[in-house]
Every structure is written in C-alpha cells, then in structure tokens.
Subunit: 385 residues, 4 copies
C-alpha cells in the first residue's frame, strides 16, 4: 500500500487549520505531504513548505502556480486540501476539480447557493471527488449513530435536537477585537454569523445521522450584543424529508458551554445522544428500557464506527483524529477509483460537495426566515427541489 | 411556634399528589393535618382522612361541606390545598378565597386566562394568599439562581434556555392506555398537551429565575404519534420584558430523558445551568472564567437558598422537600399576616396566583402561535398589557 | 392506620440531627411527636419540646424523667430516638430497652465492643427493637443493590470497594476550631477519628449490600495535619466471610470531594456502583455487557427499593427521606409486633443492633491493625467468633 | 526544521502497539519512518516495512541486522522504538544504547530491577536518551497537574489516590483464552499480573505529578478467579519521600470500569482529580473553595500543558496523541543535543529510564509485601537507597 501524494493550499505558519490538516493527512500514513502553496506571501509559503519536508520544486508561491506545476507531473498530487480564506474556496476548488484533482475543501465550501450548485455539478462532470471538512461527522460514534438509524434500530425518526452553543464570544468588550468582530460584520462574514460558523455543523450532523435532508425551516435570530449586526444566537425549527421534527440552537454567548456541540435523535424504538466533549460514548435508551452506554471499541460495534477507530474501548481518540478520519476515507476512495476496485462501504461516509451545498442552502434559508419573523421557508437548494 | 391547621381537597387513597402534599405540609412540623375532603366518593374520603389522623368531624364528604364546616370554626384551617381534577381548580379556589381562606392550588390554577384573571382579582380583593404549586421553583439552588440574577452577579440577562422533555409517552402502543391517551385529547386535556403539562414548569422557571415576564412568543407544535391530536413535542421562542431571548423545548417522546427539566441562563457577566435530576448543584461560569460548581449548603450561599435547605453540603434534598419548601414559605407568610409582623424576605418567593395566570396566558399564546405557523403573538394576560 | 407515638432524647434547638429525626419520623405520617427530653438544659428542653407541639406533661427535663414518665402511661411512646452525645448512647439505649421500649440509636451505638455486645444481648433478652441510624443503607437504590446481590443477579461477589472521603477538615488552620478539633483528640472522640465517624458508614454499606460480614482486616492510618492525634485518612483492606475482597478508603482531607460516599460491588456476573451525591441511580454492567443506568422508580424495580420510594422515576428523594425510610421500616416493624402480624419482608432491612456492634468491632480492629503496621486482625465481635 | 529519522523494532502487521507508535512518531511531522525490523518472521517484517514506505535496504529482518545496518550509515536513525515482547526489551535497548542510538522502550523497560539499573547506568555512560513509554504522563492535563504541584499551587501534598481498574478480564470462562491466560501465569508474565500491567501506570502518574518517589509500600494481592496464579486485584498503600500518603487500587475484575485510570492529589491548599476517559479536564478545588474545572486550552494554562496541546479548548485530543506527545518531546530533546542548544524546559517531562527502573522496583516490592501479608517494604531500587 504505497502512500498517496497530498498537497495543501493555505494553512501557513501560525494558522490553526494547517497543522490540523497536516496531522490528519499524515497520522495514519496514507499521504505524503508532497506539495503546497501555504501562504499569501509567496516567499514565506515556499520556505515554510520546505521546512515541513516538501521538495523545493513543489513548494509553490500561490495556488495558480501549484495548479500549473502539479497538472503536468506524473507524480501529481492525489488530493489537494483547500484551507484558504472562505471567499476563495469556490474559485480554487472549481479550478482544481476541472484540472482533474480530487479536493477536500474547508467549510463553507462556497459563499452562495449558486456557487455551491456549480461545485456539485463540476464534481459530477469531472468525476473527481470533492469533499468538505464536516469533520464532526467522522467521529466513530457519530458514524455509529448513523448506522443505528440506517439499520432501523431506532425505528422511524420522530425528532432530532442539535445544539452548537458556546460562550467564547460573550464578552461585549470584544467589540474591537479583530478576531471576534469580523464574525458579526456582513462585509466580512457574509449573510450569517453563528449559524454559518457553528450551527451548520450541528445541522449537518442532524442530516448525516438520520440520512435525511432538511426541507423547510423557521428561524429566530438575535444579536445580543449591540455592536453586532449578524446573529450571535439562533434557534431553528426544521423538518426533514421523512417528516422528522428538528430543533437547532446555536449561540456564541452561552457562557459556560465550552464546546457545546451535542445531538439527540429520538425514534419510535429508541433514543440516542452524543456530546462532542466526550465523543467516545453514545447514550442509548430503548423504548421502555434503561439507558445504556455504547462505547467506541465495544464488542459488536458497527463496522461504520470500527473503520475509523484506532485504539481499544474507553481510550479517547479526539478531534484531530476525527479530521484524520476524513483522510482515511479519502485515501480509500482515491485508491478505489485509481485501482478500479469497489470502495469499502464503511469508507463512503465522508462529507461530499452535496453536503456543502445543502448546508449553504440551509444557512440562506435561516437568514430569509429570520428576516420574515420566522416564516417557514424552503431550505432545499433549487437543483434539488 | 404553634402549628398551623391545614386541610386538603382531593389527594385521596391511591393518588400520587396526595402523599406529596401531606409530606410537604407535615415534614417540617409547620402544619397539622386538620381537615380534608379527600375523595370524590364521600364515604371513602371521610374514612381515609380519619385513617390519616383527621378528626371525624373534620373528615368531610366534599369540598362544599368542608367550606361550610371550616368557615364557622374558631380553629378553622389556616391553609387549604386544592388537589382535585384540573377543571375544578377554579371554582374551589375561588370559593375558599372568598370565604377568607388561604389557598395552595395545584397547577394549572385555571383552565382559561379569564378564570386566571378572576382568581388574581379575587385574591387581591380578599387579601388572602393564593399560591400555585410550581414546586421546582422552590428548590434551594433555583432560588439561588434567582438571587444571582437579582443581585446583578450575572449582569443583564441575554438569553435563557429551558427544557422539560422526557420519553415516558413515546410508546405508540400506548394509544389506548387511558393514563396516556387523555393527555393528547382536547376533550379531556384542553387546548394543549405537553406544553400545558410540563413546558409550563420550564417557562415558569425561566421567569422565576430572571424575575421577568414573557411578553411575546412563537411556537412550533408537533404530534409525532398519529393517534394524538394535541402536541407531544413543542419548541417555543420567546422574549422577556427586559429584552432577554428565550428558547423552550418540551417533549414527551424524548426517549432516554428521564426527567429532563433543565435551565440555562446567560447574562453579560456569567452563565449558570441547573438540572432537576441533580438539583443540589448549579454550574456557574463567569465571563472569561472557569466553570465552578456551586453547592447547596456551601459557605456563603444566599439566604434565599439557605432558607429552604435542611442538610449540609452535598447531601441531596430531593423533590418531595421542594414541595415542602412551598409549605415552609406559606407557613411564614400566614404567620406574618396573622401576627402583623413583617414577612422574612427570603420566604416571599413562593409562586402566587399571578404566576398561575401568566402561565395560562403563555400556554394559550403557544397554541395560537402554533396554529398560525409560528407567528409571534402577545403572551401577556390582558389585564397586564 | 393510627399513628404511633414517638419520643426523642437530645436533638435540641440548634442541633443538626434533631430536625433530621423529626422530619424523618413525621414526613410519612407514621409517628406523632409525643414526648421529648431534648436538651441538657432541662428548662430549654421542655420549652422547645412544647414549641414543637409536645404536650407539657411529656416535655421532660432529662432522659431519666422521660423514662419514668413514659413507663407508666397507657399511651407510652412506641419508639424512642436517642440522639444525645456519643458517650451516652449506651446507657440510655440500655435503660429504655430494659423498660420495654423500642429504640432507634444514633451511631455509634456504643463506645466499646463490650458495650455493643451488651446492647445486642439486651435487645434479644427484652424482645425489643434496637435499631441504629445507618441511614445510607435506607436509600432505595442501596436497597436495590442488596436485592441484586441476594437474588444472585451479580453472582458470587468478588470485590467491594467503598469510599467515604471528603475535604471538609482539610484546613490546617482549623487546629483550634472546636467543631473540628475534638474529632482528632482521643480524649473526646475515642480510639478513632475518621474511621469511626465516616469510614464506618461505608463499611456498613459494604456488608449491608453484600449481606455478608467482615472477618479480618488490615489498616493504614495517617494523621496528615500535625496537630492531630487520631487519623484523618485511612485505608482498610478487608475480607468478608464468603471470601469477598474489600477495599475502603476514608479521609477528611480530600479537598474537592464534597460528600464522597460511594461504593462499587463486583461479582462474577456483573458490577454495580452508587454514589451518595446522586442516590437515585445505580450504574450496572453485566459481564461482557454495556453499562446500564438503573433508575429509582423504573418499571420492575425491586420491591425492596419500591418500598422506600415515594415519587416517580428521576425525581430525586434525598438524604432526609433516607432517614425517614428508617422510620418507615420501624413503623412497620412496631405495628407487626404489636398486632402479631407478619412483617412485610421489604420492611425488614433497617439496621439493627448487630450492625452497630459489628461496626464498633471493625473500628477497633482497624485501630489495632494500624498500630501493628497493618497486620491482619480479626474484626469480628467476640460473641460472633 | 528538517525531519528526524526514526526506526522501529517490533510492531508488525496486526499488532496494536505498532500503529500507535507510527501515528505517534509521524502525526506532528517530526520523524520520518526510515528503518524497521517489524516482525519475528524476517520476510514478513521486511515486506511490511516497505509497504509502509521504508526503503528496501532499511527494511531489516531482525534487530541485530538493523543495529548493524544503521550503525554505519551517515543518515542513521535518530531514535529507535523498541516494541517487541517484554522479555526482549532489556537486551535490545542495551545494545542500541551502547551503539549510540537514542531509544524509546515500551514498558516494562526490563523484567528485573537489576536489568533496570543496568539500563540506567548504560544510558548515563553513553549519554544517549533512553525513554520509556509511560504515555499517560504525556496528556496535557497530567502535565498541568505536575505544574500545579511544582509551582506550589496545591501546597505540600498530603495524599495521592490512584486507580487503574477495569473489568475486561472478569470472565471466569476466559481461563483458556490465550489472550487473557498468560497475564496470570508466572511462566509468561513474570512476578506480577495486574500490578505490572496496569497498576504501574497509575503509580507512575502518582510520582510524575507529585515530582516525588515511592519509598516504602504495603500490598494486598488477590486472585479472584481460581484458575489464576498472579493477582487480578491489588491494593497498595505507599509513602513518597516527602511524606505523602499514597493509595493505589488496580483490578481487572471491576466490571463496569471501562478504562478506570484516575488520580486524585490532595495538598494543603487544594485538591485535583483527573480521569483518563475524559482527559481534557482537571477538577480543581481550592481549600475552602468551590470545585472549578480547568480546561485544556483555557487562557493561562501552563506552558507544560500548552506544549503538548494542538487544538482549542474543549476539543478532545485523546490517547494516540498522548503517545505522540512523547515523540514531540523526544524530537525536541534529540535536536537540542544534536545542535548543542538548550532544551525547552517544557519538553523535558518525557519518562526516562529512571522511571522504568523505579517502576520495576515498585512492582517487585508489591510482590514481596503481598507475600509477607502486607508487611511494609522498601520500594526503592538499590542504587537509589
């Protein structure tokens, strides 16, 4: 099993996302870090890439250079990760797909629904993989919940309750803090604040676990700190295509919630809940039964979960390896395509361009609903209506 | 400190609420169980009351008899608890107030907003105490959270998130179970199912802790089991008068939530959360600080909490003694009125008729909003607009 | 079901234990508080008893007066609670037993093993009930664990691990605090500090739940604060008669443990654990299975637990009602003896004089072992060897 | 910062420890996997190494070949990891140290105390790094507790309580299961079962966090399943050199404890506790204060913890990255020695040969004490007495 070649755009020195992707790509030995255009400052980017072991001729000054350089190589990269500022994702992702590369794009995949539809169509047309980094969906026990729903263990799903609320932007004194301010300024963040930043992860989990899609929704937005234009607290009621009721709360002013991403799924035959701060367990209660704790690594855990687990029961794996799980799946998918072999079904649960598109459509729908006093609106991308 | 005389209407043999009130009234030695009309069957009620130590001449066959009997006595009861079926609360409560008795009424205080306004006016006119059994508000640490808000420790309150969701009516096979069915049948339960039964407790906590009132709200109701007419899952967005954002989720199909009453309050300077299954702790996080666990009974706990605590730190007190705390307060209030002494401010936090009225107005508002696709509606009783 | 008459010795104004016993005796309506000698100051005791509703002629100045007064009455008390200073328990308990009264004695029942044997023999000779207030054993879920062992659900018990460690005496600056100092001074506390105060509760739970008795033990004592003579931290290894291994840790300097009484029981077929700060749940794991949470009040809970539960699933009951449960059992036992009816087996699990004796023998054994560098010693009272 | 060269002995296809070390070495980009002798079957080992990207001439058939091959290379490996069966650790580690290589040895470092002393002396004589994989000590929050003790935040340490108890070998039916049986058979496991396997990790944590060493101890061993010769449950009382009291419980029959490694440290000024199943938090209580939750990644966390953290607050990192943290430290230490630069003090907390030796001395001491009915014995290696 030879290693695949991997490249990254963005994620330069000092960025938080860069090390996460490098660890994710290299932790399990599937990818060699072969090429990079890591920084907006071309010289710094080239130097930094080389310091990380990238050969000088593949340490590029910008993404266009990298596209040109890699396109012609026989040992061209098998996958490129796009970890640049949000507003550039669309252009870069599209260019690499069209040149025949597989892409893993940071979220949000695009800034608009239209761009999202274009990426989905481009990926289809080129036959390349376009993945989006909804990494929470790659936790083993999130995968296991998806398995439980798919296998019918929970029965038809009646209700899903998802939260992603923290208190890290609760300080009104942060109004001039540039690391915080931009998130609530439409000029920099776009149409939505916390919903686009965090809420969307929780909503993606709701659809990932249920294997279903959001059809309509109603939203209530609030900006609880006067200096903010975009929402810092939002409640969304939604419906999935099979009739499931959904509730989503997301906030940045929930002081005391450190990383409050949790989800509860209630079916006819049982309920489950999971919290990202203790990701190795699912609390499961059968109808009229006791609550049981399902442990990552227990005997009989689903193949979907086992596929992305490394260490025995009750040894936590953590967030960086959830990112790595996306790369585990991508390596399998790339090899299967390359070799013309069937893809292990357990590896086919990484988030794809469609998820990136549906997320963006949901964000726009919440914005529209909130502006219309909570009126129910269609949350589907036009191309899927 | 001589004991006060107490009487009860309803709560006969086999009822759940009867023992709770008797324990509540007698646990701390404030009340003697002196009179009762405990059962719809007059003979059974008289016999049961006597078996519990009530004198034969004060073991009544029905509430009218009891009203007549007690009215003329010099040692007449100081407080009557109304624990009859919901639809009779209004009539009985009103009659006893008008005859000069203090009343503790089970929730809901009335079936309509109009009746609620009438009770509030009657209590005012007669100068009698009319309390409603929102017993969760009497937990020491709920009182302490109210203290924290009132004292400004949390700053202005931005957001309150309250849940009361359980899974005890999640079995579709219960459609013919009489103990469950009536709750979702308008003919028996009135305008609302789970919102009126449980949601209202959570909403009452939100207003009790913040010391504020609901002004407007928007609701999304669902009946997830086909046989049900009334809602078994509801989400309510609301606003308090000082601008606080509110979110309330209540459900009966949330399998795995055993008694999921919890509340989170987020202010400018800190956040707190409390869960009814572990009522002796409040998790408190100061802005930019660590989470701290406030323990019932810790040094320096507020007088508001200490007033209703009996045992040292980390010894749980539990639900029956929360009910007893209502009686602790009522005993103090009755004695203060009787003796013309000032009421200890720490004892003046029991839920009053106004809370019963505001709750009913909120329930009706959720029903109206849910019918209007979540339109925002005024949740205030007309007399307070 | 007429009420029984109850009296108390000790527990005067300002004591902590007095209100706990009064609440315990009266909460469920089984006992009328009929007589008392509540204070070392006769006048204060008489006045206080009357303020609590005791008739003037049964508000006694001291225990001898009370013994004389009650002995001759036709409506003599059915049960007396002894809540005086530890060194007087033996004399008072013995005197009341010999006069034909049932007794509930606070722990420790006696100061020596010899006295303990005398009480056991006196109770046997007189045919009176002598109970000891090991109230933690009366929590519903502790009873349920006893049921699980007795029914064979856990198989033969291999190991039991009990802790009762808190940090409330961790302040070296308390050396002159009279509320703390006496506990570590042999002149006042006797042979043992924390082992006699708290450790003994945990050891009692170990024997109560397993239905077995301590045979031998080895102890390691430490006085971690220089001003202390008696131990403030102790580890005890022990063996039960059926071969179970035991470990017990008890400490008063474990800062951060608020009320750290917990117990784990491991059998051939499963393990359980329980923590006094959340007493309504038992965590249960079957061999090779998942952890399940058993809830007080769940469907199918043992009769042993249901017998001492009052409110539905997930409504906590708390410590004061654990004390009340002792009185629930005693009321049933007293009535059965009085009426010559069989005692409901579910009510026969209150701690008896034998438990008080065995506890004292264990404490003396730990002291002897600790002095002998941890040598294994016989922990059985001589009369049971 | 060029990558260092890394080699591994053992950890072949199908082993659990192999992937953990490869992930640990490569996750953060410090090491290139350059050489390996991965399997007892030379051909399989060579093939597997090459499949993982090792060049053919550095995919060796056994460790002697690897020693010879690497010794002469200019680009020789900077670090070798020894992950072979326990009984071979000593010989291989010694040979590589003597040839001038840095070594990371799996635990136990040796089978006897004498061998341990030899390794310590060899490392000193050669000036090479010899580390031992006590990976739990590399969790960020374990490091932070070490910082808290070292900085005096907790005051003098009075007591440390460490547990490592699980229930994964509780099935008596496993007597013939080869994966379990060998652990309790002296012919295969040596002098100790669970104490040597798991207890030693907890004891190492106790010394790591306190910065102190075990001097004397007393042990109680039990074999609760008849087929076992070596202990499956052990309790150890110990003393550290500065007078701290220690308690250690370790078991394999504690059904329901999934990975029960936890530690509590109690000082004059505060107490902390940590549990390996939720490794990102430390619960901290100041004397007479509330419990606070210290979060990995919080503002102001110690440099000792920050040095081995990768992702923000409340994003769990997990066990595989604790192993990686050992490699992070080793990379820093190797570079500092190579470059003659001072080692970042935050990187100098990896477990060294001395820890491996002291652990082995402690295990032998527990065995001796248990055989002598718990007599207190000296736990120090002779060379440190």
């Amino acid at each position: 099993m030879t290693k695949l070649n991997w490249g990254m755009i963005g994620g330069g020195e000092g960025s938080q996302i860069g090390p996460a992707h490098r660890l994710g790509a290299q932790a399990d030995g599937h990818f060699t870090f072969a090429a990079g255009a890591l920084d907006i400052d071309a010289d710094k980017g080239r130097a930094y890439a080389q310091s990380l072991g990238v050969a000088a001729d593949r340490a590029y000054g910008n993404w266009q250079e990298m596209l040109d350089g890699e396109k012609g190589r026989e040992d061209r990269i098998d996958l490129v990760t796009v970890a640049t500022p949000n507003s550039t994702h669309y252009e870069i992702t599209k260019a690499f797909l069209e040149a025949g590369f597989n892409v893993l794009c940071e979220k949000p995949m695009t800034m608009t629904v239209e761009e999202g539809e274009d990426i989905v169509r481009t990926a289809e047309a080129t036959g390349r993989i376009c993945a989006v980094n909804y990494c929470y969906s790659a936790y083993p026990m999130v995968r296991h919940m998806r398995h439980m729903v798919a296998s019918g263990e929970l029965g038809a799903i009646r209700c899903v309750v998802a939260n992603f609320s923290h208190g890290h932007h609760a300080d009104a004194g942060d109004a001039d803090n540039p690391r915080v301010r931009w998130r609530y300024d439409p000029a920099m963040a776009g149409v939505s604040g916390q919903m686009a930043d965090c809420g969307i992860h929780a909503l993606n989990l709701a659809t990932f676990i249920t294997g279903d899609e959001v059809t309509t929704l109603s939203a209530d937005f609030a900006s609880t700190i006067p200096s903010r234009v975009l929402e810092d607290d939002a409640m969304v009621n939604f419906r999935l295509s099979k009739g499931t009721i959904g509730r989503l709360w997301t906030s940045t002013i929930a002081i005391g919630r450190m990383h409050g991403l949790d989800i509860q799924v209630f079916g006819e035959k049982g309920g489950v809940r999971w919290h990202s701060e203790q990701p190795g367990q699912v609390w499961y209660t059968r109808l009229n039964g006791r609550t049981e704790i399902i442990e990552k690594g227990e005997g009989g855990i689903s193949e979907m979960a086992a596929h992305v687990s490394r260490v025995p029961i009750a040894h936590p794996e953590g967030f960086p390896l959830a990112v790595a799980n996306i790369y585990v799946d991508l390596a399998a998918a790339i090899r299967a395509r390359r070799d013309g072999t069937p893809l292990d079904p357990a590896a086919d649960h990484f988030p794809k361009a469609e998820a990136g598109l549906r997320s963006m459509a949901s964000v726009y729908a919440t914005v529209a609903s909130a502006k219309a006093d909570g009126a129910w609106v269609d949350a589907r991308p036009p191309m899927y209506r």
